[in-house]
Amino acid sequence: MGEFSKQIQQQVRDAHQSKTVLNIISSNTKSWYGRTPHGTPLRTREHTGIINYQPSELMITARAGTTLAEIAGTLDEHRQRLPFDPPYYGEDATIGGTVACNFSGPRRPYAGSCRDFMLGCTMFNGKGDSMRFGGEVMKNVAGFDVTRLMVGSLGTLGVLMDVSIKVLPHRLAEQTLTLDAGFSEAIGIMNHWAATPLPVTAMACDGRQIYFRICGTPSAVETSRKQIGGDLYEDGLNFWKDLREHSLAYFDDPRPLWRFSLPQAAPHIAIEDANGPVNEADWLIGWGGAQRWLKSELPFDEIQMLAKNAGGTASLFRNGDRESECFAPLPSALMALHRNVKHAFDPACILNPGRMYRGL
């Protein structure tokens, strides 16, 4: 174990002993996500570097503080990429923070999520024990899948030190098409194409048109384009990047931004607030219908009810009251299980407590 790792381990051990709450910080590009962070900073940003990258093994292992940009650059030299297309939300974003948030980009429904591509990790639990789970190979069922449990746990179960992730080759060709459609119609159209073998790798709708991205060999892209029809969209590359990074004009808004996770074909939700029907322009649909954004001042409970009625859940993604709960409430038996799992990893409750749910 390197000197820096030992320092981190010692800080966690000391905090465990003294029951000091830690706030795990790497590049601090995602402090706006989840409930408001509290506690003594545990800085991991310096823990950088790619430890092992074998293009023919389709695998990369990097220290948690390694930036996404460095990883993308290294993979690109071998015409490979992180398959889940992670949003950065800040140029210094690190792989550790991305994994802790389980953030995935527009490709997610068709390729898989950050969690899907995780192969292994080295971590400290809340007692400072150093542990390695999973590995650097794609098929591995030895022991419980703690690696995937760590993904999206917002640092509440352990401090990630390095992660091993499956990578995939770049596609040879890519095109973006647009087709005029409102939200209700778009959900039907997007699900129609998702049910075909065409190599669609992203679909979104802004209420005026649907954006399709098709990727594959040049001839596969060409034949798919003919089948889907619509217009070729020249600036596709930037559109998907701006959607992924929340830099489209839609996201430039101080109101609470809600993320709905719904069955992909769930009908469009028409809602009203005190001022009448909510402006359709407050919605944005991504992931072919599976992820829907809403800018709204509606109360937390009303948003949750809307999501529940549509067969899914909602979370307060950006802005709003972050001292209160941000994520959908869990049924009591499931919440009890969460507390047990938290206790199993962090018995003194010192790692990012309350970042996901109050008391967790």
């Binding site: 093994e57 049910a195 074909a265 959908a328 038996a333 969460h338 799992v341």
Partner: protein, 441 residues
């Protein structure tokens, strides 16, 4: 005692009763597992999910199916075939194995390089804890709030809960699938060809390798038309017609450059099935070569293949036990089949020792002791090679979080620290000696 509940309420009552009386419970599906994970224990209740065998809902619009755990893997694909969909994970036992067991083992198959394991194809699970409470994880969405306990249930071998319902993803059937059969006069060249295909930017739907002994056995059994060779590769590409044609051409080129002695590409569905017939019959075919065989299951980085095969061959000579190698080459999951005769005194013991050495070698080269068959009772000792004290303690803490009294499938999947210490393993993990509290001489 074996119990066969018909309803959820019955299963809940059984669990409550067992919980009150401290009786262990072992969930069992079709019993096709390969590591003894569902093996009955003395003084325990064997809870069969055989009657939970209904497909509850097929949601074509959302491309999902809700099924009970006792539904057979293949039955899902059969039930949705008319919609143009299928369920992707295809363990070789798919005709008989059930989806509940697939979740418990996180089963793979020959197509997982491209389509993933069970964990990648399940979006929701309902399970019962020992108190009989029904807990729902995930659903029909791509993600859910809270910890990813859904992932944790996959491969947990019945230690965390009794799975009573599973929501699976359905995929559109590809327009076309074609398979290339390539022969090699040297197994290392075949291994290099695998790396070359990946380096060419192609992710085959399946990429399988067999060595000479496995080829001969499969050919004698299945008459698939396999050539005489030191190794063969089967490389399947699927997708749209245009995409498949492009990739097949590229695969043929790469195999040519890698020194294949013969290359054949399936021209129609019948020929594709014929090419696969030998591979799919490999295990029973090898079974005809000796009274018994022991199927191993480890994963290694693909680059370590030559070293591992050489070492297996050396041990094979040393132990006097032939080995046929069948290999999911695309994802590094190998299945050496050790041939032996259980009627010869001592031969089973030598076979197990040989097998354990292979698994330890898998760990040594950076791999794992089980790729898809699970730990069960079979690989408890090998777990001590792969994991140190802290990881094992953490596994027990996770187990305790779900099942505080340790009544669900006790004694499987995770060895006790005591057992590992008894074995005297001196595995140095992360530079730390296990059980530092014990004196070592």
């Amino acid at each position: 005692m074996v119990v066969l509940p018909d309803t959820l309420e019955e299963a809940q009552n059984i669990l409550k009763l067992c919980n009150q009386n401290g009786v262990p419970v072992i969930a069992r599906g079709a019993g096709t597992g390969l590591s003894g994970g569902a093996m009955p224990l003395e003084n325990a209740v064997l809870l069969s999910l055989a009657r939970f065998n209904k497909i509850l809902n097929i949601d074509a619009a959302n491309r999902a199916a809700v099924v009970q755990p006792g539904v057979r893997n293949l039955a899902i694909s059969e039930a949705v075939s008319h919609l143009g969909f299928y369920y992707a994970p295809d363990p070789s036992s798919q005709i008989a194995c059930t989806i509940g067991g697939n979740v418990a083992e996180n089963s793979g198959g020959v197509h997982c390089l491209k389509y993933g394991l069970t964990v990648h194809n399940v979006t929701g699970v309902k399970f019962l804890n020992m108190e009989g409470d029904l807990i729902e994880l995930g659903g029909n969405t791509l993600d859910s709030p809270g910890y990813d306990l859904l992932a944790l249930m996959h491969g947990s071998e019945g230690l965390l809960g009794i799975i009573v319902e599973v929501t699976v993803k359905l995929l559109p059937k590809p327009e076309l699938a074609q398979v290339v059969l390539a022969s090699f006069d040297d197994i290392e060249k075949a291994g290099q060809a695998v790396a070359d295909i990946i380096a060419a930017g192609i992710i085959p739907a399946g990429l399988e390798m067999m060595d000479r002994l496995a080829i001969e056995a499969a050919e004698a059994f299945a008459k698939a038309g396999y050539p005489v060779a030191e190794a063969i590769l089967l490389c399947e590409v699927d997708g749209t017609e245009a995409g498949v044609h492009d990739h097949i051409q590229r695969v043929e080129q790469v195999l040519q450059n890698a020194g294949a002695t013969e290359i054949r590409t399936s021209q129609d569905e019948a020929e594709r099935m014929q090419f696969w017939a030998g591979r799919k019959a490999a295990f029973p075919a090898v079974g005809r070569l000796a009274p018994d065989y022991y199927c191993m299951d480890g994963t290694i980085p693909k680059s370590a293949l030559p070293r591992v095969l050489k070492q297996i061959a050396a041990w094979s000579a040393e132990y006097g036990l032939p080995v046929a190698n069948v290999f999911h080459a695309g994802d590094g999951n190998m299945h050496p089949l050790i041939l032996y005769d259980a009627n010869k005194p001592g031969e089973l013991g030598r076979t197990e020792t040989f097998g354990a050495k292979i698994l330890a070698l898998c760990v040594e080269v950076g791999g794992t002791i089980t790729g898809e068959h699970g730990v069960g009772v079979e690989k408890l000792d090998s777990m001590c090679v792969q994991f140190g004290e802290h990881e094992l303690k953490q596994f027990f803490a996770v187990k305790h979080a779900f099942d505080p009294d340790g009544l669900l499938n006790p004694g499987k999947a995770v060895p006790t620290l005591h057992r590992c210490a008894e074995l005297g393993r001196m595995h140095v993990h992360n530079g730390e000696l296990p059980h530092p509290e014990l004196e070592r001489f």
